[in-house]
Symmetry: C2
Amino acid sequence: MQRLFLQEVATRDGFQNEARFIETVDKIAMIDALSQCGFAKIEVTSFTSPKAITALRDAEAVMQGIRRNPTVEYTVLVPNVRGAERALACNIDEANLVMSVSEPHNRSNLRMSREQSFAQLSEVVSVIGQGPVAINVSLSTVFGCPMQGDVPVGEVLHWVERFADLGARGVTLCDTTGMAYPSQVEALSRAVRERFPELQLTLHFHNTRGMALANALAAIEAGVDRFDSSLGGLGGCPYAPGASGNVCTEDLLHMLQLMGFNTGVDLDRVLAVAAQLPGLIGHDIPSQILKAGKRLDLHPIPAHVASLEKQVPSARTQELRP
Amino acid sequence: MQRLFLQEVATRDGFQNEARFIETVDKIAMIDALSQCGFAKIEVTSFTSPKAITALRDAEAVMQGIRRNPTVEYTVLVPNVRGAERALACNIDEANLVMSVSEPHNRSNLRMSREQSFAQLSEVVSVIGQGPVAINVSLSTVFGCPMQGDVPVGEVLHWVERFADLGARGVTLCDTTGMAYPSQVEALSRAVRERFPELQLTLHFHNTRGMALANALAAIEAGVDRFDSSLGGLGGCPYAPGASGNVCTEDLLHMLQLMGFNTGVDLDRVLAVAAQLPGLIGHDIPSQILKAGKRLDLHPIPAHVASLEKQVPSARTQELRP
């Protein structure tokens, strides 16, 4: 069984987008539950300014309050030197740095040019230094930018290289607004893996246009073995109201398990945690498996069928659902 | 560019599940619009008893009212001899027969045993005879039954063979409740194609567990070139309230076009028809592309980014969406 590594991002990428503040104790309880599911990595929170992203203003309290499972890496989003200092004080395993490979998207999202972002993140790397804390860089819009359109592969490779040269352990290729499609995913994944075989490569999909699971399989075809996903599909997309956000952890996991991949993650435990989400955030979530059940969650045979042999053929056709 | 054939089923498989009766003129207008989109086949309606499925009680009026495009095959669901006679009087191109390869599902859905269904459908084949009307058989639950669980591949091949022996031109492998997963789809598609290379093979997916697009790609990998899909993803699943139903035509088409397949279908025309659906049926639809737009439907650059060079780096990080 091929080993895959799943990384849960709901408590950062998901909660960040919620209008309702999730209480610190609830965040901690959820992360503690997720720590027992078998994820390779959990993105706990974000050390952005508490004023800018109030949903995650309790980053220190959450990082210090969770019970850490030594088999899980705990990563946090770090935007700048101040965030790095705060995060280091909380004994993180990994700092996740973010910038966009699209100039207009970076300016729109981070309010600075890509070069300014790179300079700022280079300082973060210096502050974190050569210690035990790993550096990952999440590159946004590598499969397309909602303002610019297509993003050249050469641009993506350029930014991967600059962060690889800085000493990043890993890079995440992010399909920020669900523009990736399977053949593109396979090609870009191959290109990055061939040129940077030593990097820990993660793929981060959104299901905005329904292709997230197909994209994950295309990435696996290209040799990718590590994926971000979000419990319940939490995490919206500002450019597509009503559309799905991050690829849903339980939907991805359910498919991968059926196909015989070894993810190390316990689907039933994940579903038990996901079931708490609607109550916690106050709205429905785009999880298909939570609604439909697992493939072999069977239904009782209707009463009228119970006595199979006594059944008489009937001209009345009740329902026809091929 | 590899040629694929898309078959639209919303006006039968979708409308059949709607609580609101869609007016005959509206059905006709929608089918006429779909006839100009480039579909290989349209499943127009069902010649079941008007009392059993009242939503499609206007089958004759619809079949006789549409303007037929000679490049499109018009197929209808035919459950029995009475339905076949009614359908033949309307000059159909193809009769679509339905039974389940799972005994409890067939009894539950059609209220008779599989052998009784087969006998009844054999009579239908006799009535239709060797004339110009083709026979297709949609086999339900070939990827799993919500009551029985797994369905042996041998069972599926057995029923395909019996209908091939009866002279059916085509067979549709139906994932009735969204239990199919990609590796299974590829294996079963290969098995059926190898054993029955002369049959017109269609795959019919539901997105109940989010895997429909991934399943379609797995089928293409196995050489399948023909798919049912439903405009707007119309057509619910009685076993999973709230979950998606049929694979959504525009979502499937959008992905296939991005990947370079030649479907012959005009996505913009399809989207224009799909946009009318919520008003017609009175509720939201699970179409992702209708909500999110096509991949390259770009968004304006926000005003604060307009003057790129004047931008000053800011410690305030607005949003971070990798």
